[in-house]
């Protein structure tokens, strides 16, 4: 066995069946070994797309996604993908070729300090200089990537290591993980759980906020919510961890959250945060965030607890361990008054948008939901369409809502759809995109065409960078700087057809209503380009730097709702 074969064998031992990647000079021995391997390789057209596909593969399946890239430019192209996976806690194992060890540090052809570059954007990384280390490194990489708070791990393998003769035996692949510096706390501390129980019992207006960590614990979240009767807010990353349509669901919080969710945060007296990190897009101005609330923060990453929002009761552990134990000590909470208030808000602020204008993004997205019944995988790009989709097309099952939340990576959605399609064969994947984002990895239409993937791409094409336009309209005196795309956008339907994918351009409501169910019934691959109203804005909106209680409600009626009853001793 040479090093490349050792690598593939070690991957097989981890249960890897599929990898995404793009070959190049410094990783050729691996691609040569791949030629005889059982591992399926999906050729992407850009390494960034490979990283996103691997990321989405994990998010959709729970199994680490693997991506291959060559040295230098191949590896640097992974950077955005790794940073995306890092921010959203996604288990990706990236394997990069590097120049031979003797050439490292000499500015060799296609050399980059990949180990140095990727350190800050991976959970851990390795530069393997001795082949004997490789079986252990691969085992450790999968262990680190997929346990605790998941994250990307990169293994950089110089070409001479790939070609070296392996002197070990099969026994070397039976690796006992020995990482004294890495022992994630899975089991919650009993004393902290008891304190959390007491805090929940004492609360009059509690809420449960579920983040991306909930994707692994959807059953536990559901059981806990049902048992306690807690109102449930799901963050952008938590969509699907608790069904959006459930009676206890208040929707998404934060910058483009629902009125009900943001108001609940402002008036609650207890937040049970489960598997989330209180990102600034969720909290708005921290000093105005949940001013009356105690915080029970449950997370597997102790560094997230009290990082931004001070936790009164920190609980470090896996939600799958902590939530059931917490639930066991609680009964249905007597919070009927709180529920009456919340239901009143929900009734006053349904999702609404004007349809007397030209076709708008929101109705396109609703058509997609109606046609699929929400029973599909949704990936999104980043921008207005992403926020509309989060609110109007949230999925109901875990691991079916795949979006770049933390890094906000335009160009994520299309390759993510590829990863999700391979992760969940037989399921339709809908990629909701904008005309700006879709062009950031549009070359992946080739990968979709080649593999005939059941992906339906819906472009809400407003001819501008919509979210930037919205900010410019609201906060930059309508100085529309560098946002116009319409004059030079391609004919998206023709472009899809050029790749061998069914393509449609849709300009009106009637065609949209007819076409969406038809195309989704066929299941893709297909691309539908919906030309939509340019100036539509995402509301509600919490302006950057404002508190979540200061949201702009936009076209909706001015806020007539009196504040909730103030708790005793609360700040004015």
């Amino acid at each position: 066995m040479n090093g490349a074969e050792v690598l593939l064998h070690a991957l097989e031992r981890q249960g890897v069946e599929i990898v995404f990647g793009h070959p190049g000079g410094a990783i050729m021995p691996v691609y040569d070994a791949l030629y005889d391997s059982k591992i399926r390789h999906v050729l992407v057209r850009h390494e960034q797309a490979g990283a996103h596909a691997a990321d989405a593969f994990y998010r959709a399946s729970g199994r680490p996604g693997v991506v291959f890239a060559t040295s230098g430019p191949g590896a640097t192209n992974l950077v955005t993908g790794l940073a995306t996976a890092m921010m959203d806690s996604s288990a990706v194992v990236a394997i990069t070729g590097n120049v031979p060890t003797a050439l490292i540090g000499t500015d060799a052809f296609q050399e980059a300090d990949v180990y140095g570059i990727t350190g800050p954007i991976t959970k851990h990384n390795y530069l393997v200089k001795n082949l004997a280390d490789l079986p252990r490194v691969v085992a450790e990489a999968f262990h680190i990537a997929s346990t605790g708070r998941p994250g990307p791990v990169l293994i950089d393998v110089p070409k001479d290591v790939q070609m070296a003769a392996f002197e070990g035996t099969e026994a070397d692949f039976d690796v006992t993980i020995d990482l004294p510096g890495y022992r994630p706390t899975v089991k919650g501390h009993a004393g902290q759980i008891r304190k959390a129980t007491e805090a929940i019992r004492a609360a009059e207006r509690p809420i449960l906020m579920v983040g991306g960590g909930g994707q692994v614990a959807a059953e536990e979240v559901m059981a806990f919510a049902e048992r306690t009767n807690l109102p449930v807010i799901t963050t952008l990353m938590g969509i699907g961890a608790y069904p959006a349509g459930a009676p206890q669901a208040l929707g998404m919080p934060g910058m483009h959250g629902t009125v009900t969710a943001n108001r609940a945060i402002t008036h609650c007296d207890l937040i049970v945060g489960a598997g989330l990190r209180f990102d600034d897009r969720v909290t708005g101005k921290i000093s105005r965030f949940a001013p009356n609330a105690k915080v029970v923060h449950i997370d597997i990453d102790p560094a997230e607890i009290s990082k931004l929002v001070r936790a009164h009761v920190p609980v470090v552990g896996d939600l799958r361990d902590v939530l059931p134990r917490l639930g066991d000590q609680l009964d249905r909470l007597a919070i009927d008054d709180w529920w009456a208030t919340l239901n009143d808000w929900k009734g006053r602020y349904p999702e609404r948008y004007a349809t007397e204008k030209p076709l708008v993004s929101q109705e396109v997205i609703e058509l997609l939901r109606e046609a699929t019944g929400g029973d599909c995988v949704v990936t999104t790009e980043v921008g207005q369409h992403q926020m509309f989709a989060a609110r109007l097309f949230p999925t109901s099952k875990p691991r079916t809502w795949i979006t770049s939340g933390g890094l906000g990576t335009m160009g994520f959605g299309l390759p993510a759809a590829i990863g999700a399609a391979f992760a969940r064969p037989g399921e339709t994947v809908v990629c909701v995109a904008g005309d700006g984002s879709i062009q950031m990895n549009i070359q992946e239409l080739a990968t979709i065409a080649k593999n005939r993937l059941p992906i339906v791409i819906a472009i809400a094409n407003n001819g501008v960078l919509g979210m930037v336009r919205q900010w410019q309209e609201l906060f930059h005196a309508q100085r529309y700087s560098e946002i116009f795309l319409a004059d030079s956008n391609p004919d998206f339907a023709k472009l899809a057809e050029a790749y061998g994918i069914e393509g449609h351009n849709v300009h009106d409501r009637e065609t949209a209503r007819r076409l969406v169910p038809e195309v989704l019934a066929r299941g893709g691959p297909a691309l539908i380009n919906f030309v939509v109203y340019e100036a539509e804005k995402v509301y509600p909106m919490v302006p950057s730097g404002a508190g979540v209680d200061e949201m702009l409600i936009g076209d909706q009626e001015p806020d007539p709702v009196p504040d909730a009853p103030e708790p005793a001793g609360a700040k004015a």
Partner: protein, 176 residues
Amino acid sequence: MSTRKHVVSVTVRDEPGVLVRIAGLFARRGFNIESLSVAQTETPGLSRTTFVVSGDTATIEQVQKQLQKLIDVIKVVDHTETKFVDRELMLIKVAVRQPEDRVEIRQIAQDFRARIVDVDRRALTFEVTGDEGKMSAFIEQMREFGIIETIRTGRVALPRSAGAPAVRPVRAPKVA
């Protein structure tokens, strides 16, 4: 919240680039290192980094938690919370402008228990060990003669008492 100096020691696996990981973490999270020293420990395969960082309690807590997240970091101890001894070593080169200075400089050095490590016609170089206060005091005393150059190691620290090692002995990683 009040900002104060914390002496934190971090036990790490001797892996290539581990110092870069620590330094990079400080830089990108906006923590300020005032001094840093690294050396091997009594256990093969493990090194100890001691650094002084200033910040409020929340910042220092984040520093520790973020350090703990690094896979190569085995143990993080904030000595500020316990009794500890800390020392620093300084080499200082003092100008000898006129012969009578030499006697006076040596007299002061003796009071500080500073050792002469190099003698030159126009300069004396001393090794000074001690805490930060001693360093500053010595520098002050030497200023009037003229300080040519100084270099300092940064602080190293260990908790007091024999029974409580800062780092529980851990099995050293296998060195391949």
